[in-house]
């Protein structure tokens, strides 16, 4: 009986660890805050739930299993609250979910995420600076020098 519960607990822990890593990869890879919330929900419910269920099987009927059940209940109640508050705050801040307004999500011509937009703009601004002659850079430097000199004189 104990061997059977050990096998079941080990399998549940293995599946839970898999889901936990999948959710973490989603948190790292998803393009948007709202999609990342979805991935965090996976690791909070499936991953943590299966891990704790497996550990309860390993512990058997004891106080340890009760403590694990308390942790699981707290996580299951607080994770949706945190996600809801986070989504509400993000929407109130003015963030738009990727995919709103018939934007293409997958394939060529896809709507890039907020990070990719920032990267593209920085690359576009960086490249002409490299191609241009050194004179404007020097002039910028001189302008900075003059500005700093003005600040010094003002202060």
């Amino acid at each position: 009986m104990s061997a059977l519960s050990e096998v079941i607990g080990s399998m549940l822990i293995a599946v839970g660890a898999f889901f936990y890593v999948v959710g973490a990869i989603g948190i790292y890879r998803m393009p948007d805050v709202f999609t990342r919330m979805h991935a965090a929900g996976i690791s909070d419910t499936a991953g943590a739930g299966l891990l704790i269920a497996g550990m309860m099987f390993l512990a058997g009927f004891s106080l340890v299993a009760v403590k694990l059940a308390i942790i699981m209940g707290v996580i299951l109640f607080t994770s949706p609250i945190a996600t809801h508050a986070l989504a509400q705050a993000a929407l109130h801040e003015g963030l738009e979910p990727v995919g709103v307004g018939n934007k293409i999500l997958i394939g060529p011509g896809a709507h890039p995420g907020p990070e990719k937009i920032g990267k593209a703009t920085t690359k576009k601004t960086r490249k002409p600076a490299k191609r241009a002659a050194r004179k404007p850079a020097k002039s910028k430097a001189t302008k900075r020098k003059t500005a700093s000199a003005k600040r010094r004189t003002r202060s």
């Binding site: 965090a40 340890v64 994770s79």
Partner: protein, 95 residues
């Protein structure tokens, strides 16, 4: 054995969460990553407690689970109202 593998998986998940918390373009990415890191810390505590045969770590896990939601909501409220003692409801700019 399986507990060590699960501990390693949770450590990998924590690493990815830390990377997201450092790279996250907005505040909400960082708050989300902090929430995920908190859950990962609870799981890590429970797994290490089972791995080393010290289930007293589960009490610390319960404490972390209770602190996690409070911290997340406090940070969100602070970034929305700029004040933790704000009664909420009306916006600071509306009045």
């Amino acid at each position: 054995m399986i507990l060590a593998a699960a501990t390693l998986a949770v450590l990998v998940a924590l690493l990815l969460g830390v990377i997201r918390a450092l790279r996250g373009p907005t505040v909400f990415d960082r708050v989300l990553a902090a929430n995920a890191i908190g859950t990962g810390a609870i799981m890590l505590l429970a797994l290490i407690g089972f791995l080393t045969g010290r289930p007293e770590f589960l009490d610390i896990g319960i404490l972390y689970a209770l602190l996690n939601i409070i911290g997340t909501l406090a940070v969100l409220k602070f970034f929305r109202y700029g004040d933790l003692s704000h009664p909420g409801g009306e916006e600071p700019g509306d009045a």
